[in-house]
Symmetry: D2
Subunit: 364 residues, 4 copies
């Protein structure tokens, strides 16, 4: 699936040694969240922070919620600035990370928070993003159950390149994969409607993202199959199902800063027993510290996972409609971006997977 073999733990964590970590694109929402998560990581020393138009600006003026880093000044995003770190996070616009990564060398763990290295099929890249595909890196969704058994986690051990999943694909794939892997769901007619907080759209200055527009308002976008996360979702689910999966995916914008609530439904496979459904999800996630199938009768909410590296979900079988429903909640910037990224980094480096991460959310 990718060119970077799962080399075994070349990056030794000597006692007391700290990893030096650089973040490219530190002025955006994803970059800021990587920094927030890293501040709690006991083995990390935050090194260079870079930006494009914001180079020269102190981080405190751009990310005022990070007082410990307020006086750090952004540097330009160049290979010179990023070189010499153990780990480099790239929170760059689509298309910008391949070139940077190529120059950093294989001894550096490069973590791409953008979409460039997620898809395996160049045709689908061309269809949804345009241009030439940059290649595929190990995909940072450790808990994803695979068709043949096992999880995506194994592909991350020792890697020096990580493609961090999109936020929607994280929630949707975790929600549906156990049932597809267990053959309980029909892969041909999956319907997903997901609501996202507006940080998912980044800091881009667009009229429809103004506070006055989004407060009190729900609206759809990318309807009709056009959202760029659609092929990524289908790719993940196919890995779990072992066969192609077709998804009708509709994202909506919700009046909140953070959070994704994904409502995912698929038809019960012919012959599958409604009574077997719950057990498949329980098996898949029983030992996972960051994916929680809630006890029956409790429903996930985005508020309860805000700020935490956690995916909470619940399911139901609607026997009249013949469909299984799974609703999953994540914080798009944590489990859906920065927290998931650090989790994968921990795996890649042989650290305990939860190092520096919390499953607890900030609520109410």
């Amino acid at each position: 699936m990718h060119a970077y073999p799962a080399a075994c733990m070349v990056m030794h964590m000597e006692p007391g040694k700290r990893l030096s970590v650089a973040v490219a694109g530190a002025s955006g929402y994803a970059g800021g969240e990587v920094l927030r998560v890293l501040l709690d990581h006991p083995h990390v020393e935050i090194g260079a922070l870079t930006g494009a138009s914001n180079a020269g600006t102190p981080l405190g003026a751009l990310q005022p919620h990070l007082p410990p880093l307020a006086d750090r000044v952004l540097q330009p995003t160049t290979t010179e600035v990023l070189a010499g770190h153990d780990v480099v996070f790239l929170a760059l616009p689509h298309g910008a990370s391949a070139e940077v990564a190529a120059e950093l060398g294989d001894d550096v763990l490069v973590v791409d928070l953008g979409a460039d290295h997620r898809l395996t099929d160049p045709a689908r890249w061309a269809e949804f993003y345009g241009g030439t595909h940059a290649g595929t890196w190990p995909y940072g969704l450790p808990e994803l159950p695979l068709a043949g058994g096992g999880t995506q986690r194994e592909n991350l051990v020792g890697t020096r390149r990580i493609a961090v999943p999109g936020c929607y694909p994280t929630a949707v794939s975790l929600a549906l994969a156990p049932g597809l892997a267990a053959g309980l769901l029909e892969p041909a007619d999956v319907v997903v409607v997901a609501a996202s907080g507006t940080s998912g759209a980044g800091k881009s200055l667009k009229p429809h993202l103004l506070g006055a527009e989004v407060m009190g308002s729900m609206s759809p976008y990318g309807v009709g199959g056009g959202h760029r996360h659609t092929p990524e979702i289908e790719q993940n689910l196919a890995l779990s199902a072992g066969v192609p999966v077709q998804v009708s995916f509709t994202p909506t914008l919700a009046p909140m800063s953070r959070g994704i609530l994904a409502t995912c439904t698929a038809r019960l496979a012919p012959g599958a027993a409604a009574g077997d459904v719950r057990a498949a999800w329980e098996r898949a996630y029983a030992a996972e510290p960051f994916v929680h199938l809630l006890p029956e009768g409790r429903w996930p909410s985005t508020a309860s996972v805000l700020g935490g590296n956690s995916c909470a979900m619940q399911l139901a079988v609607d026997e009249r409609a013949g469909r299984v429903l799974v609703v999953a909640a994540i914080d798009n910037l944590v489990k859906g971006t920065a927290g998931g990224a650090v989790q994968s980094v921990n795996i890649a480096l042989g650290l305990p997977e939860g190092t520096g991460l919390t499953a607890a959310g900030v609520a109410p």
Copy 2:
């Protein structure tokens, strides 16, 4: 379908005469919204306002947004108080309106904002609400296209009893009915995920409705087919399709006071051409003042319909997934409750349908 024949305009609107209108349950969200809408109605004189535990309280203490009625004191909800009005709106808990209506007589136009008289099938009433069904009244969704041609509007002319639709059924039925009536959608596998503002849950004091809980949070409820609006949606869509329709309906709670965004999908019927889809909706709503299929490229939002008696929608055909998607936005309290109710009252009384109503929303 109902016992109240569409008598022709017995309620004469003499020039200058005003209809006297009473509102039972004036302290709740639905009752308050009926009053707000009626304040703009040129032929209405607001009469008795009643409440249960709030009898004796001035309306200003309960509905502070209605200064013109601030000094009106709530009376108890009794037949004596409600008698003698031309129109009586009942914004009462489920199960309470049948008895009141029976005592008011057939010369009074009784408008039930609750669920008691919506369903035609007593078995489904028993299944979803419990107890004995109170009977069926003409259903107040004028624009609903019917299988044989025509709309639900005709059933409202001259009626003295109106069952006001639920808020979700209003949005979902208007979204999908044109395609079902035109035979373009498969009726067997409709999937709907809808987000509602929390006023949809009423003024009930429940922990999960506290501001600190709902702000910044999306969460599902009534998942798995159990929401009481499911049979009402299926009943409406069957009237449009001419055959039974099966709906997987998942409601979610969104961090906003008002509004419903319903994302509705159905498989394209075998043999139906994607190119024919848009025209079916255009035909159905071209002449409707309160249902708007937006021009291509624009998407509805709940903000743009807030406070207005309007349903805005857009559709797309996802040819890869083989599904038609329709997203509809309404204000749950206006087009979804009080505005729709007044629209039906206008029809019943032979007034111009839009009297006292505006399609304009309060935005941003």
Copy 3:
């Protein structure tokens, strides 16, 4: 105070005749709200709508909440386009309205929603806005009590030029003026802290106005006396007090689309009796349809005035601290902009002051 004499009713409203009204700057929040209010005005025919960069765009793409005007196409803001209307509303950036108004002639009622013609002192204009002052027009705050008795209303009768007040000055001036006019408050040490919804900042694309930034957040701005509404507030209050008034004014941005809550305090004047305070406000506003001193025990909220042309207020005397507190709530876009403007237009044209306006808010 201004060059435009209060000519008596030259604009005859013949029965059935409608005023033709143009709106320059129809794509912004203020312009859109003027249109929303005018749609309910029985004597108005909406004529030309203009924009700058948006000329050529249908209004439906810019103000999707106004379906009745969706197909109107914006024209460029030129004298040719605006000429020939009875009333022209200018919702333009500061500095742009004087020139347009000069060319429209004195037979047209020109209503400036910007700041250009509010201040009477050119020095203060220069200090807070920079450049040369465009001159002063009659100030559209009808209810403002004046030091010598009477109200600002008299200055509006028959005028052909109206300077619409700023949103903060509307709330703050109405809150404090009765006490200053009655000599109950010390004019030397007024302290005001006000919270505004983010529509008050307009549709400008600034990072701190993004939804992800403002939701869940309160922050101050213009602290230390620098906000441009400070001189306007002081000018209004001086008209009421008959002596100069000094105000410490701190505006804050609140996580809501609309609304201003102004908390205003002043020291009780020496010799003034706490027991006399309430009566002064009652006298000032007893007959006003759009300014409401709430009954004791009830407090205003921005939600209850949303969408309505209403200012709700409450007061208290803090005898320990020796201060009178008045808290006033308005919708910044209605009573604070478009509704107040239409109210003044009604006065100028000799129409009943409340024509086309409602005091009812859209709540919850």
Copy 4:
């Protein structure tokens, strides 16, 4: 000031030893936040969790954002359950903590998150809370500068009883104390207007706290000097000023879950130079890890301190109005409650003050 002498470090932290901690009132917002903060504390073992009506319920059903504690079952709040822990947090209704504390003995560190032990003057307790005062405990606001020099921190070293400050008093006292301690502000006429998220009102089921009511709305409460935090603020500021301080305090409810923005103003003392003001705050907080005077030109926001144990502030001198303005932002549940409590516990136990605490907020 209190009966519990600052005994020197009797509670030895042996290497690897963990403190056992109980939380009484674990189902409320304050109790939940204590648990969230403690989950990150390296020296803490979370022991008994208690509730009143919720005894017997698993925490996961009440605080779904804390997955690591989801299976813990609440016990009744009795001395038996709470005994045997090193530290006991009391998040109980006013009036309930004195009795519990008395039975726990002086070897246990008891931390009262309620108001019972904050005030030093029984007369003011009686005036604002009613009933008999329970006595005064060391006050947990370490950074508060005292009139004679030094800070409140010294009073916390080694204590076995801590009265956690109220949320408003935390923000307001930190905002104004440096200027009062330096004699730069007049103590006689302090005016404070503060906005709070609705979690500040707790989980109480009151109609005005429903989501539909608070979203999009600002409203005042406790106006006129009646809020219970007024005497606590005046007590703190008097400790800093060395003379009595009179405060006009107006709290408002803002449409957000968390956060306090306090706008605090006082007249510049006669003879004080505007140019000296900033330095006083810089001196007071230069070495404080959790109180941040922002660089000039940046303003605090509640979003940037959400979830962090941080107070961000900015000030300005309004020379025209003769007033100093200080605006401070905190998370009411962290620096204003649970984080501040843990900070004081660290001091009391001789741990590094920031153990288990972060100044970083969760934004956007």
